[in-house]
């Protein structure tokens, strides 16, 4: 193929670009992001900081942007209050975002909050059930991310030897979170604008012990993998591992590797697996390991009759074919990323799969197995 003149170029571009078939327009997500942009503008104006939207695309923090360039707002101020060693009225963290006070509260679900192991976020108050705490090893820490209306919270528990957790923000601020005891756990928590949190360091004694770079989950920082100083973690890569249409609903699955570990994003959101090297995603004897799976939703949030997910296969498998009870077949291509192979799929919610067939890079049949079911 070669291009001789403008007419030739127009024709080639038309074949290339008109052949691109995007998924359905994600109106709900665009509206949500648009409202976030408006809110940030309002805050900036209220603070006397003239941020012009067209000029507000600022350099995001290092390693934070494996996908689209986020709107990272640097004109914010976050503070963290120093609380006592034990929670007062369940408050395990508090501070300010600009003029607004935020706080993180843990609540005993037995006392009637009914929260259990979940968190109920509001713009400036995050309330979590005590059961959301996890027992940690002496030097361990675990953070979960909760986002609401342009604010993200990180809340978690730390082991007995962890003296503090440092959180770095995209504007250079370093926040120190000191553990506060409640319900038998040592809690840390912080709130910040979406996309503001760029790094966490857990400190044992007086020394930084391990650090974590978050996965950007639609603006919310997901801390998954902790790295020792000098340890790089997985290489940065982002790949589409499957896309298509199921009963008129477009779907798309992707895998993102980096220092955060191994994260998948698909129709139903994102999920991450901690990994510092090539992840061992397959259990012994398994042919296919499900990494993420759930109902396929339409762009406006309605459930369909399909399941969508991402699965791992052995390194020598290039294609997987599902043979359904009715005789139809579905071929899925496995994509190599960070030393493993994964595939994305959308299939009926309760498929009657009778056989799986795995093919190698040269098209040879590697394995065939009768199965009772597949998917979620």
């Amino acid at each position: 193929m070669s291009i001789h003149d403008e007419r030739d170029l127009r024709a080639r571009l038309s074949v290339l670009l008109d052949g691109v078939e995007p998924g359905l327009a994600p109106v709900t997500r665009a509206v949500r992001r648009g409202r976030g942009i408006r809110m940030r503008r309002w805050i900036s104006v209220a603070a006397g900081l003239a941020v012009i939207a067209a000029g507000a695309v600022l350099l995001p923090g290092f390693l934070q942007t494996h996908r689209v360039t986020p709107m990272t707002q640097l004109h914010y101020k976050v503070t963290v209050m120093t609380l006592g060693p034990t929670a007062d009225h369940g408050v395990v963290a508090a501070g300010t975002i600009g003029p607004k006070r935020w706080r993180v509260v843990v609540s005993n679900s037995g006392a009637g909050s009914g929260l259990g192991d979940v968190c109920a976020p509001q713009r400036y108050v995050l309330t979590c059930g005590l059961a959301s705490g996890e027992h940690q090893g002496p030097r361990q820490a675990s953070l979960i991310s909760v986002a609401v209306d342009g604010t993200q919270y990180e809340i978690g528990t730390v082991g007995t030897d962890v003296t503090r957790v440092a959180i770095q923000l995209s504007n250079g601020t370093l926040l120190t979170l000191r553990p506060v005891s409640a319900g038998g756990f040592r809690w840390v928590g912080v709130a910040a604008p979406l996309r503001a949190i760029t790094r966490a360091v857990r400190v044992v004694g007086r020394s930084a012990y391990e650090y974590a770079i978050p996965f950007d989950n639609d603006g919310s920082a997901e801390f998954v993998t902790w790295l020792r100083p000098g340890q790089a973690g997985l290489p940065l890569a982002s790949k589409s591992v499957g896309s298509g249409e199921f009963d008129g609903v477009a779907w798309h699955a992707a895998v993102h590797t980096g220092p955060w570990g191994y994260c998948t994003s698909f129709a139903n959101g994102s999920t991450c697996i901690p990994a510092t090297g090539t992840p061992s995603l397959l259990s012994a004897g398994r042919i296919i390991a499900s990494l993420a799976c759930g109902p396929l939703y339409t762009s406006d949030g309605r459930a369909t009759g399909a399941s969508a997910g991402v699965a791992a296969v052995p390194p020598d498998v290039k294609d997987v074919v599902l043979q359904f009870a009715g005789g139809s077949r579905l071929r899925m291509a496995a994509i190599a990323i960070a030393g493993t192979r994964v595939l994305g799929y959308a299939i009926p919610a309760r498929p009657k799969v009778v056989r799986t067939l795995e093919y190698g890079v040269h098209g040879q049949l590697l394995h065939s197995a009768a199965v009772a079911g597949w998917g979620c």
Partner: protein
């Protein structure tokens, strides 16, 4: 925003989504990135919906956001960050190998062009924008559009990727 305006925006986005994603694909060679860029553009359009709905040419507004958002991404890459270790995924629509090879070769050749030239090519020769309209989207002069498009065409004519990579 009220319900009526939300419905207007929804119609607006549904009607333009595919074309904007295709524009993003022409600029990035990556479908997911293209969808992210398009989504960013619509989110910004929503944030300024009152202004956008009254604009003479809202499409130019959206295109400019996509082009600029991707330009910012390129600046970051050029100062040393490595975003991926592999080439972006190429589209596959399940037809003949030769056609797929042609498309992949053209995508690769486009990605080898400097960003300004690539944007000029996609806007001028795929969207069929005039030189003036292209200049508005790119935020440059008409003369600059002419030279960028001309250089791009010259490079594509002799691109080894196109000469060797696709079918004859």
């Amino acid at each position: 925003m009220d319900v009526v305006a939300d419905e207007e925006f929804s119609d607006f986005m549904h009607g333009r989504w595919a074309q904007l994603v295709r524009l993003g694909y022409g600029l990035t060679g990556d479908l997911q990135l293209a969808e992210d860029l398009a989504q960013t553009a619509f989110a910004k359009a929503y944030a300024s919906w009152g202004r956008v709905r009254r604009a003479d040419n809202p499409d130019a507004y959206l295109r400019r956001i996509v082009v600029n958002a991707n330009r910012t991404r390129f600046r970051r890459v050029r100062v040393g960050e490595v975003l991926t270790e592999t080439v972006p995924d190429l589209i596959s629509t399940g037809d003949g190998t030769d056609q797929r090879d042609d498309r992949n070769a053209l995508t690769a050749a486009l990605m080898e062009l400097p960003y300004g030239q690539r944007a000029a090519v996609v806007l001028r020769y795929w969207l069929d924008l005039s030189e003036t309209e292209t200049a508005i989207v790119l935020g440059c002069s008409v003369g600059n559009v002419k030279s960028q498009a001309s250089r791009a065409l010259a490079k594509l004519r002799t691109s080894p990727v196109l000469l060797e990579g696709g079918s004859a």
